[in-house]
């Protein structure tokens, strides 16, 4: 069974180190905040000047002055703080974040990231903080469904969509697998139980390598 979106987020959350400073991209990555391991202190950063983003507020407790980069109401954890936008992007661009978990349209086998525009002529383009995050955090990991709704692969030899940054992605969490970007190519670390490696390759444009200790990708029903 492919993972559901919340399960992808759960899986990515399991890899977060105690004490890590992490930015969560809009959409699927934002769900990671629901699954932070309770035995670790992980500090979430938001582009709009929050260090220490907490859970969504309770009903009627939302403060319009306290929102995350996705414009959703949030809270601040104990120990958190506020900075202005320029200092927030100093954090982002200057290598101060241990990790950014980002969404993507496509990732190439070299780790190129395309996550800002699909060139849809019906919409004006928007880049937000995607390019700053992609070159600035110490490590970039991507959360994405393995294929588009029409079945087209998102893990490509080369990205078809305009790049956000070249050679930056180190790991990809999909609904089917956990895959590392290595100098040798895409290395499958974990795969869901009910598809085999050949099926995974069929859904992936870039060639895949199997890790010697390839493991099952399992996630609880969350």
């Amino acid at each position: 069974m492919p993972l559901k979106r919340r399960q992808i987020a759960w899986r990515a959350a399991q890899d977060l180190a105690d004490g890590a400073y992490v930015n969560l991209g809009i959409g699927l990555p934002t769900l990671v905040s629901d699954f932070l391991p309770p035995d670790r202190e992980i500090v979430l950063q938001s582009e709009n000047g929050i260090l220490g983003v907490g859970p969504a507020p309770g009903a009627n407790e939302a403060d319009p002055d306290l929102i995350n980069a996705g414009k959703q109401p949030v809270t601040l954890v104990t120990g958190g703080s506020y900075v202005h936008h320029t200092d927030s992007f100093l954090m982002i661009r200057g290598g101060h974040l241990d990790l950014a978990l980002l969404g993507a349209f496509e990732v190439s086998e070299a780790g190129d990231l395309a996550n800002w525009t699909t060139d849809d002529p019906g919409f004006p383009p928007g880049v937000g903080g995607a390019m700053d995050l992609a070159v600035g955090a110490k490590e970039i990991r991507v959360l994405v469904e393995h294929t588009t709704k029409s079945g087209a692969p998102r893990l490509r030899r080369q990205c078809q969509y305009p790049l956000t940054a070249a050679r930056v992605v180190k790991r990809v969490y999909t609904d089917l697998a956990v895959i590392d970007v290595t100098p040798q190519g895409l290395l499958v670390r974990e795969i869901v139980a009910d598809i085999d490696f050949a099926e995974l390759q069929a859904k992936t444009e870039a060639p895949l390598l199997a890790a010697p200790d390839l493991k099952p990708l399992v996630a609880p029903a969350v």
């Binding site: 938001s46 582009e47 709009n48 000047g49 929050i50 403060d63 319009p64 002055d65 306290l66 929102i67 995350n68 414009k71 601040l76 506020y82 900075v83 202005h84 936008h85 320029t86 927030s88 992007f89 982002i92 661009r93 919409f123 004006p124 383009p125 928007g126 880049v127 937000g128 903080g129 995607a130 390019m131 700053d132 070159v135 600035g136 305009p162 790049l163 956000t164 940054a165 070249a166």
Partner: protein
């Protein structure tokens, strides 16, 4: 005596000229100078270039300024959001020019102008469409692009507290672009929730010192 309080919104935006570069603060729904934007519609300045992270939502604030046809060009990181209908219509009709800039680079370019510097080299956008036409330079083995300062003629700001010297504080994530825009414009105008006595703001807690602020007006928002 220094007294940056003005009597109302009309006086707050008085004198803003046609063709001005207007830095418009806020992110999402927080820290938006909606009352000042709407006063600027009344004031009548046109042919404006607006620098803002988002391109307005609904029909209020920046969207009202856009909807009134006063904005020739917007410099923006993320123009489209839920409710950015006014901008989307103008864009589809070819009635507004869009310069798309990464969010941190908009902010850093304004700071560069505020700091009296001539430009900076940044690794952001290298290898992407947004770096096309920019001067490139490899520094310590890493390619960079040259980014230019982005000064404003006017900044429209929203703050929480102010005193008559123009010292400002903000609440939570409503701080966002406000401090940088205050520093980067020749004329900085803040709508504020409360005006307090000089000395009521702890000197350690002033976020925008009054030197960067020219006019303050109290409004409910």
């Amino acid at each position: 005596m220094i007294d940056k309080r003005v009597r109302g919104l009309a006086e707050a935006v008085a004198g803003i000229k046609d063709g001005s570069v207007v830095l418009c603060a806020g992110f999402g729904g927080a820290g938006l100078p909606d009352a000042l934007c709407e006063a600027l519609v009344e004031q009548g300045a046109r042919d404006l270039t607006v620098v803002a992270n988002n391109a307005g939502t609904g029909r209020q604030g920046l969207a009202a300024l856009l909807g009134a046809g006063r904005v020739r060009k917007i410099v923006c990181s993320f123009p489209r959001s839920s409710g950015s209908v006014v901008f989307e219509e103008l864009y589809a009709a070819g009635k507004i020019e869009l310069e798309l800039v990464p969010q941190g680079i908009i902010s850093e370019r304004m700071r560069c102008a505020a700091a009296g510097l001539g430009g900076f080299y940044s690794p952001v956008s290298v290898g992407t469409r947004l770096a096309e036409g920019k001067e490139h330079r490899v520094i310590d083995g890493r390619p960079h692009v040259l980014e230019a300062p982005l000064p404003g003629d006017v900044a429209l700001l929203a703050a929480d507290r102010a005193d008559r010297w123009g010292n400002l504080t903000y609440r939570k994530s409503a701080r966002n672009f406000n401090p940088t825009m205050a520093m980067a414009a020749k004329l900085s105008i803040a709508q504020v929730r409360r005006i307090v006595e000089l000395g009521d703001i702890d000197p350690e807690q002033v976020i925008t010192p009054g030197i960067f602020v020219d006019r303050i007006v109290q409004v409910a928002f």
